[in-house]
């Protein structure tokens, strides 16, 4: 099934300038694998190269798909989330920062 993926502006250089791309799969994990296959240059920007964890937020039709990983005490993307034909995934960069700790 075909899913639409919104690409933030800094990553469009890796998707031939496209704001939205299509990928195939039944879960978020499969969609990301297909996206990786179609646009391999995206890989370094989407994943931590050491841990292979996603560096991004992903929303499915405006819904947060993070779940609590109790073992590690943090939220992470539920890659097993099912998707259906015509759904939209949005890749959202983490926007944070601030001055140094006291």
């Amino acid at each position: 099934m075909s899913i639409f993926i919104k690409i933030p502006s800094p990553l469009r250089g890796f998707t031939n300038g496209l704001k939205t791309v299509e990928a195939e799969g039944a879960t978020v994990s499969e969609i990301l694998q297909d996206l990786d296959h179609r646009y391999p240059a995206l890989r370094e920007r989407l994943y931590d190269q050491k841990t292979r964890r996603p560096l991004i937020n992903i929303y499915l039709n405006n819904e947060d798909i993070r779940t609590l990983n109790k073992a590690e005490g943090r939220y992470e993307i539920d890659l097993n989330t099912s998707v259906k034909d015509g759904d939209q995934l949005s890749i959202i960069p983490p926007i944070a920062g601030g001055i140094r700790r006291r």
């Binding site: 960069p93 926007i95 944070a96 920062g97 001055i99 140094r100």
Partner: protein, 153 residues
């Protein structure tokens, strides 16, 4: 100097004054927001959208933009032929140079505008882009005169 030069940007007075008003009103906490450029003018900041600071840490020293708010602004931008081109945040009682924490979380392709507010008064505003190959920020130049509205700044 053409405004399309890599490190030359422009900003509309209305957007700049909205940023100033937000950063001063938010003192002594850090505040943050999203910068929007018309699709056909990717280095011209036409609008500034103040966002909530949703950090779980000390809000006087950290900021975090809720991904859902990012998405809502991005959806609006797409419908109105704008693009999210960067972000602003304040450094209360601190110089407006990017911190190490800012560097760790920066993305190539966005503009990071920082406003220093000292004692509740606007001190300085500067902006940078991030180069991941050099792991450093490059300061950008704002072309043209920006009229500061002193009733908000």
């Amino acid at each position: 100097m053409p405004s399309t030069q890599k490190n030359c940007w422009t900003i509309e007075n209305q957007a700049w004054n909205r940023i100033l008003g937000h950063t001063v009103a938010g003192y002594p906490k850090e505040v943050c927001g999203i910068l929007l450029c018309p699709c056909e003018k990717p280095q011209h900041i036409a609008r500034a959208h103040p966002t909530k600071n949703t950090t779980f840490e000390d809000p006087a020293r950290r900021y975090l933009i809720d991904p859902l708010e990012f998405l809502e602004v991005d959806n609006w931008a797409e419908q109105n032929e704008f693009d999210i081109c960067g972000f602003y945040h304040s450094h209360p009682d601190h110089p407006c140079a990017p911190s190490e924490h800012d560097r760790e979380l920066a993305w190539e392709g966005y503009l990071y505008l920082i406003v220093s507010v000292k004692g509740g008064v606007f001190d300085e505003g500067r902006a940078w882009t991030y180069d991941p190959d050099k792991n450093q920020f490059t300061e950008v130049i704002f072309q043209g005169k920006v009229e500061i509205d002193n009733t908000t700044a």
